[in-house]
Amino acid sequence: MRMALQVAAFEFLRVFKIKDAVITLVLFVCGALFYAWISGEEKRVKAPISVLGDAIQLENADHLPFNFLPAGAQSEDKLREMAASGDGPPVLVVHSIEDVEFFVKDERPSWYPQLLGVIRDAQRVAAMRGSGLSEDALSQVFADRQVELEVHEPRNEAEDQKRESIAFLCVMAMMLGVFMGNVHLFTGITGEKQNRVTESVMSAIPAQTWIDGKLIGLSLVAIYGLLVIAVCWFVGNEVYGIFREKFVLPLEIVDPVQFVVVLALTSLGFVLWFAFFGAIAATIDDPNTSSRSMFMFLPMMTMIVAIPGLNEPDDAMFVFWSIFPATSSTCMPVRLVVADPAWWELALAIGLLLPAIWVLRRFAGKVFATAMLTHGTELGWLEIWRVFRRA
């Protein structure tokens, strides 16, 4: 085990380069700035509107993206001039109930339809008042009537949406981690074969120790990669938030225990996939011509089965995927976040995943011992199957 950890440290440090992490962070920040620049979506600060005239009653409301401000003593010409030059806010000139004019610089704002609705409501109220209706009658007209809403098994849709977002992030994190690790795994192992490092290493340590070290090291690489991306995303989002409305992650719904379980499942998933891909990569002689590189995309299948589970986490098929070893590390986190799986389901998923990892790890070790010293030809599928049965 000590030697496997030495290999793991070596593999990890080959990839761990703080300079590259800093460059990634800078690129994320630049990306955030660029996106803020090209994004048409303005930050949700209420836009002020100067209102000149009182023929209609315009009231501010929390849900509206604008605020009405009385124009004060300034003349209409002056207000228009300031709005035109950008020194003042848009101007709403209320000449009469029927004659309202909105003056704005450059283009119609995105909230104009809402403004129009508010103006029309105010025009109707003013018109009714003008028609001689009593205050009581007016109160009757505008009174809110009660509507009862009865929902069978009420859901908190906002909460559900937040949980789906977090579950989706778990799936994406799994995919990102697997792909990042796989890239290093494939290039690393095929590179070792091509550089002829294999015989030196395998005369020093058993093939099983070597692959074990790689699996640990590359799982750390995947977690490290995710961490770098998370930090970059967080910083980039904060930078974006200076200029635009930033994206808010609903982290308040994350339960720490759940987080640890999801992290553990995800890490086990990394080891499972890396063991499988380590064995496949070892059989590749020349990555430029081998068709086996396409196996790298196999984990996409787990994403395909995981996405429907965001909405139907307790569907029988999805329950199966959340327990089946090849997909449990992707699907069980989804169920943990958006549903409430029984404890035995989680225990069964982990109970099947661990032996699967053990078998794949042994398989990878056996394939490694044979395939890493085979040059000029790829280990055939029949031979790989024989090795798998021996594992």
Partner: protein, 308 residues
């Protein structure tokens, strides 16, 4: 004292070739033992099978390393494979430390030894450079150091001189001798016979997986019947039959016009030989020569093929 390695009747075949054909030999403690032969003679197969990288089809191997019988600990073995390479993106010092650790050293010991080797190889100022910035020759040096950094009791060096210029070949002859002088046993596999004959204590010459000759360099010469030679520079072409009839002459080779090589009997009466030769041909120059290992090997293989 029992041999470090005792190999008996081992054989190994691939699909179309018999790479090792019933070979037997023993490597004694503290000696440099050379496996010699041209490319494809079966040397690398032999070495890889000894280290368990491939399996022999039959025969037996007995190890007694550091006084312990049985398969040796990986930390006791140093191995420089013929097919070798390094992590190109990793700095030199870190590479050496890593290989030291893989062979069971502590990080501190590995660092110390790596720095000592870098100094010995005059590469101490390249310690932090990545391997792929080094020349091919310097990469070869690092590979050598990585194989023996942990001071193995038994070092297996497969083609250690390939890729080196003559100056560095000389230096590495020195490094190999120094390893032996420090108590290591070295099994050398190479095809550069002129280098190996200067460093090996004993050797096994093989061809197509079979033994051609074995023993110390003198034993090999004796077994090959390769005694002293007189090289004559003559005026015109000598009469081969007349020269062969001279006393003390075993065989005559007329390599080129104006040059004759006389292979002498074990203890020739040189005066009589030279007088007789002088009567046969006009001599312009003469010097004696011992046949090189290369000559012995080529001659032995040729004779074996003729007999077959």
């Amino acid at each position: 004292m029992s041999p470090v390695l005792d190999v008996r009747d081992v054989h190994k075949s691939y699909a179309t070739t018999r790479a090792v054909d019933n070979l037997s030999f023993a490597v004694e403690p503290g000696e440099i033992f050379a496996l010699l032969g041209p490319n494809g003679a079966g040397k690398s197969t032999m070495v890889r099978a000894l280290l368990g990288i491939v399996q022999f089809d039959g025969g037996s191997i007995d190890w007694t390393v550091d006084g312990r019988s049985g398969p040796p600990a990986r930390s006791s073995i140093g191995y420089l494979p013929e097919e070798r390479g390094l992590y190109k993106d990793v700095p030199v010092l870190r590479t050496l430390i890593y290989f030291g650790i893989l062979r069971g050293m502590t990080r501190a010991d590995a660092r110390l030894e790596a720095e000592r080797w870098l100094e010995k190889l005059e590469l101490q100022d390249r310690a932090k450079d990545k391997i792929d910035t080094l020349s091919k020759g310097n990469q070869q040096k690092i590979q050598f150091a990585a194989a023996v950094l942990h001071r193995p009791s038994f070092a297996v060096l497969d083609e250690p001189f390939s890729g080196f210029d003559p100056v560095n070949q000389e230096k590495f002859l020195g490094h190999i001798r120094a390893m032996r002088d420090e108590g290591a046993t070295v099994l050398l596999s190479a095809h550069q016979m002129q280098l190996v004959e200067r460093v090996a204590d004993r050797m096994l010459l093989i061809d197509r997986g079979r033994e051609v000759l074995s023993g110390t360099i003198n034993e090999v010469r004796d077994r090959a019947g390769a005694g002293r030679q007189l090289v004559l520079e003559t005026e015109g072409t000598a009469d081969e039959a007349a020269l062969a009839a001279c006393p003390g002459v075993k065989r005559v080779k007329l390599a080129e016009p104006g040059r004759a090589v006389l292979e002498l009997e074990d203890e020739p009466a040189l005066n009589a030989t030279l007088e007789a030769v002088g009567r046969t041909v006009r001599i312009r120059g003469v010097h004696d020569e011992r046949p090189t290992l290369h000559d012995i090997y080529v001659d032995a293989v040729r004779r074996r093929e003729e007999n077959a």
